[in-house]
């Protein structure tokens, strides 16, 4: 089966005064129709840049998508698109929901117009039809009194309501691919759950694929079919949600799962943190990006970059611990048992 979206060896760099920041260093993944892929990782690991690259929103001239990168949407490499083709693709084939609904809406434009302009741009409909469709969309994202609401400005909406509007904008032309870049990070917890529920509902009805960018593992567990864990501009582990949560294989994934606060623990129990900081991507490490923070770091990790090891058909990880030789030397099963604790 061919995939809806295929990203091959995506590399994105930013040219700054400090040098070339290699934000994304060769990322490969795919998304099928109707499924949800979550990309998780800490701040600065390149997940947002990846999503912007898929939308063609990497700011030039500072940002550069490297030449041998490939992003295929329905088999066509969209990185070769002209400006006009990008405009047709954005909004119609792929819609994006941004992180901060407080700043992502134009403060001087009525909500209705902001939703409507995408519809008018892509679908040859009259203003009146577009208006009706806008009202329908607002109903779909559960905004009460849509007829009055379309005449209002963003400052008259709460944060959760604005994020619903953002979702309506992304949904406007029923794109097959929706990218949600930390859609719940700026919202409070009760609203988060509503938004996630809404996204799931929309996905069920529209059968669209969602790429969910997040660092909230709770969101991932509630939504994702598959998970890609990113670190320092690379995908270090990828698998189905079940595989990642039940059978994590990369030390970073362990650490990430460990860092989730456990509500059943006593108040006094310490929260787990991952010591150290991510590597400087102006001069990325020669070996594994996580080596300097890894509890199980070996000599080889600092010198050579690990390759992917296929754990199952859908599950792969990039770690030397899975190398045939490492298993012998280290006693890999020992490591696993240590980690499980």
């Amino acid at each position: 089966m061919s995939h809806l979206l295929e990203v091959n060896n995506l590399k994105v760099s930013f040219h700054t005064y400090a040098g070339e920041v290699q934000a994304v260093r060769g990322v490969t993944f795919y998304v099928n129709e109707g499924e949800t892929l979550a990309i998780v990782g800490e701040s600065g690991c390149g997940k947002t840049v990846t999503s912007k690259a898929i939308m063609g929103l990497v700011a030039s001239p500072q940002g550069e998508v490297k030449k041998d990168s490939e992003i295929k949407f329905k088999g066509i490499n969209i990185l070769k698109y002209t400006n006009k083709q990008w405009q047709d693709y954005r909004g119609k084939d792929a819609g994006m929901i941004f992180q901060d609904p407080m700043t992502s809406l134009n403060p001087t434009m009525k909500i209705g117009n902001q939703i409507r302009e995408g519809i008018i741009k892509h679908q040859k409909v009259s203003k009146k039809e577009a208006q009706e469709r806008t009202i329908e969309l607002l109903k779909k994202v559960n905004i009460p009194n849509p007829i009055e609401r379309i005449q209002q400005y963003p400052h008259e909406f709460s944060g959760g309501m604005r994020q619903r509007v953002m979702i309506a904008i992304a949904l406007a032309c029923n794109p097959q691919l929706m990218i949600a870049d930390e859609p719940t990070t700026a919202l409070d917890v009760t609203i988060q759950a509503q938004i996630i529920k809404l996204l799931k509902e929309i996905q069920r009805v529209n059968h669209s694929a969602i790429i969910m960018i997040t660092h909230d593992l709770g969101v991932v567990a509630g939504m994702a079919d598959r998970v890609a864990v990113m670190y320092a501009g690379k995908i270090v582990e990828e698998g189905s949600a079940e595989e990642i949560f039940e059978n994590p294989q990369h030390p970073y994934t362990y650490a990430l799962l460990n860092a989730v606060p456990n509500l059943e623990l006593e108040n006094k129990a310490e929260l787990h943190v991952i010591p150290g900081t991510p590597p400087d991507l102006v001069a990325p490490p020669k070996g594994c990006g996580f080596a300097s923070r890894c509890e199980y770091c070996m000599e080889v990790c600092n010198r050579y970059e690990p390759q992917y090891t296929q754990i199952s058909k859908s599950h792969r990880t990039m770690c030397w611990l899975h190398d045939e030789i490492a298993k012998e030397v280290y006693g890999f099963d020992n490591v696993r048992s240590v980690i499980k604790k």
Binding site: L57, W86, R90, T108, M109, G118
Partner: protein
């Protein structure tokens, strides 16, 4: 909204009254009086007569009240230096040229300034941007009268007359042609200022998240500028345009001189030198009124452009 506008107008009238009062008393504090300002020293009897005629022999308080009463009837008084000519007549015949020059200059300044600013912002750090910066520095640092002389020398001739103004019965195209050089001279400062402000304002707006949202909808650059950038970046410009309008109407007496424009600017300067009290008062009132009015309009424009300001006002 209407209530807000009415309130604004109320404030404008109060401000104007304060200015009238302050000018009236300040004017009388200037050393010298109309009788001494000329080169000829008037015989005492003549001076006495004139004082009586103009009411200058009365106490200042009475004169002030008398003046206020006249103003409410729209009478600005008769000129001292040009007997027989009332301030109303001078303003009636001279103000239109000044206003036309001022408005044309602000209009040209705004259109060109905003355009240059937007283009420069979109081509940040390229050669286009550098040209825009050059124009801005050039416009700010070269005085308008030098620029006027340069224009007269390089473009002046039969098509663009070196001096002169619109005469009666002239068509629109001709009148624009005749006023082109003075307008451009008076506009150059505005072009420079607006383009700098607009450039930084547009750059600010382009960094906002909602521009990314607009792009992700698939809008073209033109649509993004027109619908999302322009309105949001124009607010800082509004605040600098108001003083500029008044400044150009009042401050272009040099331009008026250079191009022999029958404007009001000359009277503004001459009346102070001649201690021509009614003319001083009249020109000051007119210019303050223009100033206050343009600031008031800008306040209302703010509210029209930005719904958040509108909301806070209505509350």
């Amino acid at each position: 909204m209407l209530k807000y506008i009415l309130k604004k107008f109320g404030y404008m009238i109060v401000t104007l009254w304060i200015i009238i009062t302050a000018t009236f008393f300040l004017m009388n504090l200037i050393p010298g009086d109309p009788m001494q300002s000329g080169t000829k020293i008037l015989p005492e009897a003549v001076a006495k007569n004139l004082e009586a005629k103009w009411g200058l022999d009365k106490p200042i308080g009475e004169r002030y009240l008398h003046y206020l009463k006249n103003i409410t009837h729209g009478e600005l008084g008769e000129s001292y230096t040009t007997p027989g000519l009332t301030a109303n007549e001078v303003i009636g015949s001279r103000l239109p040229a000044s206003i036309r020059l001022g408005l044309q200059a602000v209009g040209v300044g705004l259109v060109l300034g905003l355009l240059i600013g937007i283009i420069a912002a979109f081509h940040r750090n390229s050669w286009i941007d550098f040209i825009a910066i050059f124009i801005a520095i050039f416009g700010v640092s070269i005085p308008s009268f030098v620029f006027a002389a340069l224009l007269q020398k390089s473009l002046g001739g039969t098509f663009f007359p070196i001096v002169g103004w619109v005469t009666e019965g002239m068509g629109l195209a001709d009148s624009l042609r005749v006023t082109a050089l003075p307008t451009l001279s008076a506009a150059i400062g505005g072009i420079a200022t607006y383009s700098r402000f607009m450039r930084s304002s547009v750059l600010d707006v382009l960094n906002n998240d909602y521009i990314l949202t607009a792009k992700s909808k698939g809008l073209s650059n033109g649509e993004i500028i027109w619908r999302h950038v322009l309105r949001n970046s124009i607010t800082p410009i509004i605040s600098i345009v108001a003083p500029q309008i008044a400044g150009i109407v009042t401050g272009s007496f040099v331009i008026e001189r250079i191009f022999s424009i029958p404007g009001l600017g000359r009277y503004y300067v001459d009346s102070v030198n001649g201690r021509d009290y009614p003319m001083i008062m009249a020109t000051t009132i007119i210019f303050s009124a223009i100033f206050i009015f343009s600031i008031g309009i800008m306040d209302i424009l703010y509210a029209l452009v930005d719904p958040r300001i509108r909301k806070s006002l209505i509350k």
